[in-house]
Amino acid sequence: MVLRSYVTGIRAALAAPKLLAVVWLVLLVAAAPLGVLVQRAIQDDIGGSRVHVELRQRMDMTWLSEFQERHEELGPSVRPATLGRADFLYNLDLLFSGELFAQHPALVAAGSLYALVWLLTLGGVVDRFARGGGRFVLSQFLAACGRYFGRLLRLGALSAVLYWLVYRLARWGYGALEENLQDVTIESTILLYYLLAALPLLVVVGLVMMTFDYARIASVVDEEPNTLKALRRGLSFVLRRPFAVFTLALLVTLSVAALVVLRTVASPGVGESTALGVLAVFLLGQLFLLARLVLRLGFVGSELALYRSLR
């Protein structure tokens, strides 16, 4: 049942290329203006300097340190971790370590804005999957997005509060753990403790995520506009079918992890020095992002399939 739901969801995502295109375009449109700003900042900074010769082949770290100094608002995000093959891993680490909230308020704002846009889109996605596909009509899709946005927004706000509490709990917990491990002198041992501590944290995060995921599905599929009732349905479903729910989540997580590993390993070096090369690398990046979106939409579809089959 879990595997069937997983396959159903991925198939549904792949069978909706126009939907995928819309979601991908929304993502690109959300990021592109900032990308253009970065391009202008870099171009202005280079000006007529010959440093551009080096920057064609590699990242000149001497110039980068000057750029970061001259652009305090952009500097923290224009760095090797975001410009090379470590980019996807770095994003995971930003969230996990909490560095995002401590040092990148602009990114938090951008992410929150996009999360709103995603919530807006999500209603249409669930609705389309619930209807079993069919011809994609943009106006219908947008109408569904609008119809369900309010309830999804309320659920999203509530989930944000809970995630924040979980993050504070994690911060406190790890801080206390570090304090208690201050006489442990073997790094591997400390790492093991930290990894083990991540397990209950993952369970809690997973519980919150799954509850709200199925609450969102319930609010659309069961036409439940009341936030608390939808939440109750979601929690009830998760608690009644924990094995199925978390196994499905694990399947998707492993798929995403595999994609991140592939991205890290297979990502090209930074030596592209022609317009064609730059475009190719950019398109390769879009391919990875598209794959991520397939998995994301597939996750929604598979959760919907599981919910319908087991509720």
């Binding site: 959300a30 990021a31 990308g35 970065v38 391009q39 202008r40 870099i42 000006g47 007529g48 300097s49 010959r50 551009h52 590699r58 990242m59 000149d60 770290m61 001497t62 000057e66 975001t82 410009l83 090379g84 093959r85 980019d87 996807f88 891993l89 770095y90 994003n91 995971l92 680490d93 969230l95 996990f96 370590s97 990114l107 951008a110 992410g111 995603w118 919530l119 989930s159 995630y163 994690a170 917990g173 801080g175 753990l177 570090e178 201050q182 006489d183 442990v184 002198t185 790094e187 400390i190 790492l191 991540a198 030596g271 592209e272 730059v278 879009q286 990875f288 992002l289 991520r292 994301r296």
Partner: protein
């Protein structure tokens, strides 16, 4: 203890670096009496009680042939016991000190470094708050503080001096600081005379604030016993312990017996000459080393001992003893390779390493002992996941091994002139690392749990993010942050807290790199090797270094070196470039006639000089340096022009048949100190911004992924 300590009137009264030696009338009389007695005895320092024969018992020199390499005027015989359960040390020591100066003194000034961490009122703790760099943050448990208490002081076989002890505060009049202690002698120690002191003390070991202390079962002991300052012509040089500085002491012979739990592995300065099992479950390890100015040691049951040997055709062999951790066994070869690289490079560049052995300590994780130097022993530091090519542990190992030369053999005052060892060593480290291992790849670390201080456990190397293979370039960004802070000539302990890295390490390495680029490596090596040779086992000052630099080279380096000692910065730029047909319009004399030539838009095409290229160069920084300006034309032709670089700007003009492509000031990158190298070049007709699109495109992909990841949870 407090009852025995009193503040002498006027102690630390004069703000400044040291106590200007004061002699009481009683002291002068005693000194005269001692001189008379000494003369009557026929040998210096023999007659009065407590005064020992100069130099103590003869020992083998570091070179193994009995010859002393250093003055050996401050020697210690120490017995110390580690109480693991209570985290304390109890010790007794005999100090044998010879006055090398031309004036007597009836005082002995000691460092009690561990008192810096006895409470929050010490100078060290106050300064550390300003820079926020210690290994200890927030709450400090009662058991984590430290102290070093002197229980008794007496002349060897003579008077009890315990009640004469008092604390001094020669730097900042911080009456709460307890890191400088003075002992008054009943009689002055005259020039060439020797005094022996017996001291008993006990100490509480800190959970590491900086460099020394404990973590779990592992200990590292640095500056852990009452340590004599340095008596100089101007008086005692014995600073309070500052957060941003290190140490300074005289050379001598150390004979140290350490009693520890028998399962502990011990590493220390020197060679082990005796090991004795005791009946109480402890073992006593005796180490001896001549011609050093510090003694550090470490003990842990967890060390794995691996040994190797450095051999070179023209350098003395060195036994290398590595104390590493079980989880770092896979990095043993890397530690040895880096140590050997340092011994070879520094040995051939400056002078041979004389001791015949060195101990490398791979400290426990998170202990705070890493990256520090002590004579014949140093600590490196690595991580479980440190992929080869990332520069760690190679970089830190080379650096700390290199300190055996700069600091260990050439013993500068690190309180006042830290750059003399840190800067010279940083420069040498970069040279060695790049020559041996190449430029390290950029390392990105991952998985730092929230609310913790440890950087990520896993590492990924990223190729393509580098400094173009230019050694020391990575120092420029660090230096730039504090470039206009204190002048480098400021005594190091007076630097604004947190800037010592920028000034002592980075700035010095950069101006040494400039000297190399300017004078050539042979000339710079001559300066450094002469400095090393002349000041081995001595205490040079910056003036000594500058004097040698001026002496050894033919170039006028004095002006440059004076500049770098200030807080003036170097920043040259190409401000503008223009290239256009040589303007010929106007009234021009041709033969006897005055002819009007109208303006034209295109060159005549007659093959003669047709384009004028104008380049404006500017000096943004306060310091000056002779510059070269490179004109590169579209046909590939190049012209170099010299500019003294003193004026604030200059217009340089060249007429040539082709248009100017671009201009570069300092095209060979001689001035490593130039704060902003990117403004050193300018194109006449800049190309479209492909690089900007390239990096922005990559950044955009990252941002898209970030947004997707962020929204994954909603």
């Amino acid at each position: 203890m407090e009852g025995a300590m009193k503040r002498a009137a006027g102690s630390g009264a004069a703000p400044g670096r040291r106590e200007r030696g004061r002699r009481s009338s009683a002291g002068r009389w005693c000194g005269a009496l001692l001189l008379l007695l000494g003369g009557a005895a026929g040998a210096r320092g023999q007659a009065a009680p407590g005064l020992a024969p100069e130099g103590g018992a003869p020992v083998d020199g570091a070179a193994g042939n009995g010859a002393a390499l250093s003055p050996r005027n401050a020697s210690y015989t120490i017995d110390v016991r580690l109480d693991h359960a209570s985290r304390t040390l109890r010790g007794s020591q005999t100090l044998t000190w010879t006055n090398l100066q031309e004036q007597p003194t009836n005082q002995l000034w000691f460092h009690l470094y561990w008192n810096a961490w006895s409470n929050r009122q010490s100078t060290w703790m106050r300064e550390d708050r300003l820079r926020g760099r210690s290994d200890r943050r927030g709450e400090i448990a009662a058991d984590d503080w430290s102290y070093l208490e002197v229980d008794s002081v007496a002349l060897a076989g003579g008077a009890d001096l315990t009640r004469t002890m008092y604390f001094a505060f020669p730097d900042d009049r911080n009456g709460d600081d307890r890191t400088v202690m003075v002992v008054l002698l009943p009689a002055a120690v005259g020039p060439g005379e020797t005094v022996r002191l017996d001291m008993a003390w006990h100490a509480k070991i800190p959970r590491t604030f900086a460099r020394t202390g404990f973590r779990g079962d592992s200990y590292f002991f640095a500056h852990w016993f009452p340590k004599l300052g340095v008596y100089e012509p101007a008086g005692w040089n014995c600073h309070e312990f500052h957060a941003g500085t290190e140490f300074y002491s005289d050379y001598g012979v150390y004979d140290v017996s350490m009693t520890v739990p028998e399962e502990f592995v011990v590493g220390a300065t020197g060679r082990e000459v005796e090991r004795r099992a005791n009946s109480d479950g402890t073992a006593t390890h005796r180490y001896v080393q001549e011609d050093v100015h510090e003694f550090a040691w470490t003990a842990s049951p967890d060390y794995v001992v691996v040994e190797d040997r450095f051999e070179h055709a023209s350098l003395p062999a060195v036994d290398i003893r590595l104390l590493t951790r079980p989880e770092h066994r896979h990095q043993v070869a890397r530690h040895f390779a880096a140590t050997k690289a340092a011994l070879e490079s520094y040995g051939t560049w400056y002078g041979p390493y004389p001791y015949g052995h060195v101990t490398v300590v791979d400290p426990p994780f998170g202990a705070g002992f890493g990256g520090m130097e002590y004579p014949t022993l140093f600590t490196a530091g690595t991580r479980r996941f440190n992929p080869p090519g990332g520069g760690n542990p190679e970089g830190v190992t080379i650096h700390e091994a290199g300190h055996q030369f700069w600091y260990g053999i050439v013993g500068n005052n690190e309180f006042e002139f830290a750059w003399l060892d840190e800067g010279l060593n940083t420069f040498s480290t970069g040279r060695t690392e790049y020559a041996t291992f190449g430029e390290p790849l950029y390392t990105q670390r991952f998985f730092q749990p929230p609310g913790t201080d440890t950087s990520g456990f896993f590492a990924l190397l990223l190729a393509g993010f580098d400094y173009g293979g230019v050694p020391h370039r990575e120092r420029l960004g660090r230096y730039r942050v504090d470039a206009t802070s204190d002048p480098q000539s400021t005594p190091s302990f007076e630097y604004h807290p947190g800037t010592e890295g920028s000034l002592s390490y980075s700035k010095t390495a950069l101006w040494l790199a400039t000297l190399e680029n300017w004078l050539g490596w042979d000339a710079l090596q001559a300066i450094l090797s002469t400095f090393f040779e002349r000041w081995r086992f001595a205490h040079p000052t910056p003036e000594d270094f500058l004097a040698i630099a001026n002496e050894v080279t033919e170039a006028d380096v004095g002006s440059f070196l004076r500049s770098v000692m200030t807080s003036d910065t170097f920043d040259y730029a190409v401000d503008s470039v223009a290239t256009f047909p040589v303007p010929t319009e106007g009234w021009v004399r041709k033969g006897d006639e005055l002819v009007y030539v109208p303006p034209r838009d295109e060159p005549a095409g007659d093959g003669e000089t047709e384009y004028r290229s104008e380049v404006v160069v500017r000096r943004h920084g306060g310091a000056t340096f002779p510059m070269e300006v490179l004109f590169v034309f579209e046909d590939g032709h190049e012209i170099r022009r010299r500019w003294p670089g003193a004026a604030r700007w200059r217009l340089l003009t060249e007429d040539y048949p082709a248009k100017l492509d671009y201009a570069v000031i300092d095209p060979d990158g001689v001035l490593a100190l130039d704060l902003y190298p990117s403004n050193n070049s300018l194109e006449a007709d800049p190309e479209p911004g492909l690089p900007a699109w390239k990096w922005a495109a990559r950044w955009t992909v990252w941002l898209e992924d970030f947004l997707s990841t962020f929204a994954f949870f909603v």
